[in-house]
Amino acid sequence: MKVTGRKDLEKLKDKGTASLFPDRVRIMVGMATCCIVKGADKVMSAIAEEVKRQGVRASVVPVGCTGLCYKEPTVEVVQPGKPKITYGDITLDRVPQLIEAIAKGMVKKEWALYQTEREEQLVQGGYHAYGRGTPKELKGIPKHSDVPFFRKQRKIILRNSGCINPEKIEEYIARGGYSSLLKTVTQMKPKEVIDEVTKAGLRGRSGGGFPAGIKWLSCSKAEGDGKYVICNVSEGDPGIGMHKSLLESDPHSILEGLIIAAYAIGAKEGYIYISSGYKLGVQRMEKAVKDARACGFLGRNILHSGFDFSVKVKEGGGAYVCGEETALIKSIEGDWGEPRQRPPFPAVSGLWGKPTVINNVETLANVPVIMTKGAKWFSSIGSQKSKGTKVFSLIGEVNRVGLVEVPLGITLKEIIYDIGGGIPRGKAFKAVQMGGPSGGCIPKRLSNLPVDYETLAQAGSAMSSGGLIVMDEKTCMVDVVKYFLTFLEGESCGKCTPCRVGVRRMREVLTDISRGKGKKEDLELLEKMARLIKEGAICNLGKTAPNPFLSMLKYFKDEYLAHIQKKKCPAGVCTS
């Protein structure tokens, strides 16, 4: 159905609401890649079969990631008259009993993680209230608001993740989706959209945190027609998948943000550039684009506003460096994914030489919320210079591994201990590594630092795409740096000498150190190399490649010295 205005959108919203909150049982299975690797797909098939076998009147729905990676596979159940119950660790063998309980209208208390009484409807405001259930059947099940994992989280970017079926556009619309687009293209001038994003203080959610509004403004002012917008979903940090999760859990939030960005800068064409290997993400985004086109959110004369915009999903070849804007552009153009020197910046001369805005998925997912709730609301969240929230992949030596979204300005300690539940097996916390392979470590003694762009950069780390790797006392910092440098050496495009040869040689020296073959002048040499690679490399992959080394040297110099002088690895990791 083609949507031409508010009335049509309301019709789709009603349809979506009926699907989200049906008058029968709704069983939701987390089905993002992170869930599937833990067997969620098999669990979902088993549930569907069991529901049929036991004759339960229920819809079984795949949803995105709830963030509870440590409890996958997760299943959420809404039974009429009861709160939503979230179950964790629902393995295949548990399925028959779970469905049996549901068939009897009961709650399987022993597997329940928590209950949700009402669902926040972030975009349109207000809450959807579930049933209340009886105290007896809910006894001992904590309330969502009391679960430590969620208490300090604030979900804006992940507002729909784990809540809606990512392949059903009407469920996205039922959560306020595309109402921001309608408002934007029918009631606001492009300049007003840019102003709102600027006032909101939205900063790029990867890399250096450049203000999105300023990027949009310089592109909208740039001379030339045929401008482009690109959504950057090229995420290559080892072990980390925030963008992947969002793409798989809520593709429309990204797409709506992209369409609004296109309207703001005057682009008629756009690309969604997705890392190679994100098959499920590509599939869900392609479905999203197709459905959005069918609804008239893409194509000619969008929502009868006279605005035309079309978008293509482009799968990359998988190089880490293609997350860098100029390399990404070259990759779309069909060339080697090699960065080039800036200026000219893509906002002035980007794809095919035309002014181009490139935004990260998280940045774009914020945009629809800002358009409806306003800059003032958005800028009330976060710290003074870093507004809004940030999604982190909380991994490593931490009890509750998961995908978390927190208001900026929160301290690292709160994330690691309050949300993550601290370090497992009674080990001591040593450091946290942030900012991906070219980020840096922050030691335990600085864990009271607030998480914002400036503070992290000053501490020698970075926000970047949002990996947060917790390390315990059994981690060797020389080994960690060697690991990241090996990764970066392999991902260097090889264009410039400092990165191609310099990073390699740094890694060689570090390997020597880790094997007890380090020389006493090595640290000085590594420091010099780090400084000149930072100054001399073309792009940010090269310029930031020495960061892991530099941050470790800043906080853990004694470990280097132990390896070099005493030929000893204090953590007992490195062997000769």
């Binding site: 190089a319 080697w336 080039r340 020197q341 200026p343 000219p344 050496e489 392999g490 991902e491 260097s492 495009c493 090889g494 264009k495 410039c496 000498t497 400092p498 191609r500 040869v501 310099g502 390699r504 040689r505 060689e508 020296v509 020389k519 002048e521 090595d522 040499l525 010099k528 190399m529 000149l532 100054e535 001399g536 490399a537 073309i538």
Partner: protein
């Protein structure tokens, strides 16, 4: 025209010119390696870096591909700039210790080989001049970069015998480090290509692209003088008469 200031001296250059061109106009020497004036600048080697101040912010950039803009202030020999250049040479010297051009540059800049790095003896320093020449000057694009990172080097597709190489030797002529070998073998002489196949002369052999291309004989003197493919390609490209290359340059009479 655009006015920029280099090391305190003002110079006017046309819009679109690069900082390197502007510096050369002032006879200010900036060393280069991957740069060649006949080719699109690449900006890879980082030897030609300079410090550019624009709107109050100073940035280290490669001068060969940095376009001039009104009011730019450029310094070509700051400490950082000189340190980066020396570092680049130190790194490359360990890659290709025997490359003449690197030894000369090292001497010019007072750089000594770093003993800490194990020499690699890989003459290709991934400057890409051969690739750009083959594409932009010859128009054949027989070669390109293969691999990435430290393994990156100019190669024929899949490191197999090039199907498109015409044997013109432009790559060989332009390569700054002598990483490309080109050899003509005489009538009846035999040679082995890196893939093990045998070539019988008269032929031109370029090991890097794994080709052994037949040389055409002059109709008059009977001497082999150029690869058959090259002559065919040039005849077509420049629209010469079909029999133009029947005789060699020496035997050609007007």
């Amino acid at each position: 025209m655009v006015t920029v200031k280099i090391n305190g001296k003002e110079v006017q250059v046309p819009k679109g010119a690069t900082v390197l061109q502007a510096a050369r106009k002032l006879d200010i020497h900036i060393p280069t390696l991957c740069y060649h004036e006949a080719l699109t600048p690449y900006g890879g080697c980082r030897l030609c870096v300079v410090a550019v101040t624009r709107d109050g912010a100073t940035q280290i950039v490669s001068s060969c591909n940095y376009e001039v803009a009104e009011g730019l202030e450029i310094k070509t020999e700051t400490d950082v700039v000189l340190d980066i250049r020396k570092f680049v040479i130190e790194l490359l010297l360990a890659e290709a210790p025997d490359a003449k051009i690197l030894k000369e540059l090292a001497q010019e800049m007072g750089v000594k080989p770093l003993k800490r790095f194990k020499p690699r003896n890989e003459l290709c320093i991934a400057c890409g001049q051969c690739i750009r020449a083959c594409k932009e000057i010859v128009g054949v694009s027989a070669i390109d970069f293969a691999q990435r990172g430290y393994e990156k080097k100019a190669a024929s597709p899949f490191f197999e015998r090039s199907q498109d190489c015409i044997g013109c030797g432009t790559c060989y002529t332009i390569c700054p480090t002598g990483a490309i070998t080109l050899k003509d073998i005489a009538e009846g002489e035999k040679a082995l290509l890196p893939d093990g196949s045998e070539v019988v002369g008269p032929a031109r052999i370029i090991d890097n692209w794994k080709v052994g291309l037949e040389l055409k004989r002059c109709k008059q003197c009977g001497e082999p003088f150029a690869p058959q493919f090259q002559l065919e390609y040039f005849t077509k490209k420049v629209k010469l008469p079909e029999d133009f290359f029947e005789v060699c340059v020496e035997c050609r009479t007007l």
